[in-house]
Amino acid sequence: MKRLLVLAVALLALGLLLAGCGGEEKKAEQVLKIGTMSPLTGPYAADGNDIRQGAEIAVEVFTEAGGMPGFSKIEVFSEDTACDPKQAVAAANKLINEKVTAVVGAYCSSSTIPASETLAEENIIMLTPASTNPKVTERGLPYMFRTCGRDDHQAPAAVKFMKDVEGVKTIFIVDDKTTYSQGLAEGVAAAAAAAGIQVLEHDHVNQGDKDYSAVLTKVKAANPDLFYISLQNSATGALMVIQAKRMGIDAILMGQDAVYHPKLMEIAKADAEGMYCTFGAIDKDAPKFKEFLSKYQAKTGNEPGAYSAYAFDSATAYLMAAKAAGTTDPAKVREEMLKLDFTGASKQIKYEENGDSGSNYTVYKVQDGKFVPYWNSLTGEKY
């Protein structure tokens, strides 16, 4: 008797489920599907979740403003790349199967590059909010766009700051050997040499290390004017900053855009005071940014991360272009993408022929637990 009852309940549940499906099918809605891919797990999950949320909020804002004509709703599909090239390609294939028309992502340049090749075969538009390696847009892929800056602009900007503003004569560079961090660190080394700054040493650590005492002892012994930290993670950046301060290193500390994240100060606290980071200039008084900020805080309860605004702008740019084109046909959307010129949450968005949108690196200084804009690389002046 008991068994019968269980069976009956199970059948009933199954029936309801099927009925639910049937109802869904019948409506035959036109859904616009957008994908995001970023590391949602693993050491880069903080930045990865920022990207996913940024894109989701863009869709929310866009839908509230009237949505896409011809589509009853816009849906976001998020895939995890774990910053692993293989998993990024798998994520790209999953999104292709979902029939997304555009993808916002990925985070690590080493994931974005292979994933973009897969997406390009299906003519799917990809907009990266965070991959700064020059190669991303240098392969001639027609549907690859980049909303953030480029490392070959970031490295000279950082070096110009070191020389012109701080009068640095010697630097020590450490990276963690990712496509991104090592590429950038090499760019800094080259630019420094060209600018007459002596690179005392360029050392490497491993991703996921927690103990930097050995390399920091070297830094202390070398006694550079400036210690350049190129790690692909704000949390490990914070660890390095804490340990550097404890070791008694009094060199100027400077990080880059992956180290730039509110989480850095949350972990390093007072030890981060006075350190510099390069990141794209974001006008926090712009109305678009304020709108984005209030939505973001309402939805997530968090401060936006480093790349949230770029992800927001990437998704917004695509939706605007698709709306203007009146279709999701990639060739027509691309035409509209190139015509775009609007003030986003992060910066003025105007895509060039190769997909880049220009860099506007600014040096931020940590003051009272906040990143404060300190020096503008475009004008060469302090704020």
């Binding site: 050392d203 650590v205 927690k210 930097y212 005492s213 050995a214 002892t217 989480k263 606290k269």
Partner: protein, 302 residues
């Protein structure tokens, strides 16, 4: 590269080695008693680190003195991880005690993934910061700087090791552990409850890992749900290097792995430090497959 540089790296190496040694003890004890490589052990370390940050933050917000916070959190986290380890043992290993060793090993790997994801889902993907007030401070001897945390880590490692030695060699439980390690069936015949002894062994090992987790959290400033994996592998290597199943071996192995890593990073390059740690491991195993302290297993094995 001069004398100061060498001594600074020596201090760094001893600190890191102390942490590895504490984690390695758990591997070694569990292996010694049931010949199981408990791959979930690194997760006890991570769970201890998290429990520590939760407790210390809470107690500090109640206005307790930092050292009192630390002491209470340390004891409670060790107790928590001990219970967690006993639960894991009941759930994942005890039913497989008569099965092949491969089955238990796979169960351990599964448990490791399960616990890691559990930490991620309950604690979030972001790093959690330890309060830094407790950990700052130190002094200098010439150009060599020593932080209070480094001294604390080495002192606590030494104290726990002495305590463990007393437990294993001076108490009835320790004698029962050693007997069970030698022969489970025979010791059961003379009235030792081997299931209970195995559970205690798991608990003690996990408690030590939890202490290591808190120290790492304090020393480096933050914890992360993936933090158990790499130190877990290193500590496993340390246990094997020292002669798995041997307590003194775990200490020696941990110190060697820590030193090699630091000196490789200091004198060669940071990118090769793991390579050198494992080259040493392979070298030792090639020439002395039992590990450095692998002799006289019957005396010292838990």
């Amino acid at each position: 590269m001069d004398f100061d540089f060498f001594f600074q790296q020596l201090i760094n190496g001893i600190t890191l080695g102390g942490v590895y040694a504490l984690i390695a003890l758990g591997y070694t004890m569990v292996y010694g008693i049931i010949q199981l490589i408990n791959f979930a052990h690194g997760e006890f370390f991570a769970a201890g680190g998290y429990m520590g940050v939760i407790l210390i933050s809470y107690l500090a917000s109640q206005g307790l003195h930092p050292y009192a916070c630390l002491a209470i959190s340390l004891v409670l986290s060790m107790a928590y991880c001990a219970l967690l380890a006993m639960a894991v043992e009941q759930l994942a290993y005890k039913p497989l005690r008569q099965a092949s060793r491969l089955a238990a090993l796979l169960s351990a790997l599964g448990m490791s993934i399960f616990l890691q994801n559990g930490l991620m889902l309950t604690q979030g993907v972001y790093d959690r910061a330890y309060p830094t007030e407790i950990t700052s401070g130190g002094f200098e001897i010439g150009a060599v700087s020593v932080s209070y945390m480094q001294i604390f880590i080495v002192a606590l490692t030494a104290a726990l090791l002495v305590g463990l030695n007393i437990l294993v060699f001076r108490t009835r439980i320790g004698r029962a552990m050693r007997a069970t390690a030698q022969d489970k069936v025979m010791s059961a015949l003379v009235g030792i409850n081997s299931n209970r002894i195995i559970a205690i062994t798991f608990a003690v090992g996990a408690g030590l890992a939890a202490a290591a987790g808190i120290m790492v959290g304090l020393y480096y400033g933050s914890v992360n749900y993936t933090m158990g994996f790499v130190p877990g592998i290193k500590a496993f290597a340390a246990a094997v290097l020292g002669g798995i199943g041997n307590i003194t071996g775990a200490l020696v192995g941990g110190l060697i792995i820590g030193m090699v890593e630091i000196f490789a990073a200091g004198y060669i390059s940071g990118e090769y430090k793991d390579v050198f740690a494992f080259i040493i491991l392979i070298g030792v195993l090639y020439f002395k497959p039992t590990g450095i302290m692998g002799e006289n297993v019957d005396d010292t094995r838990v």
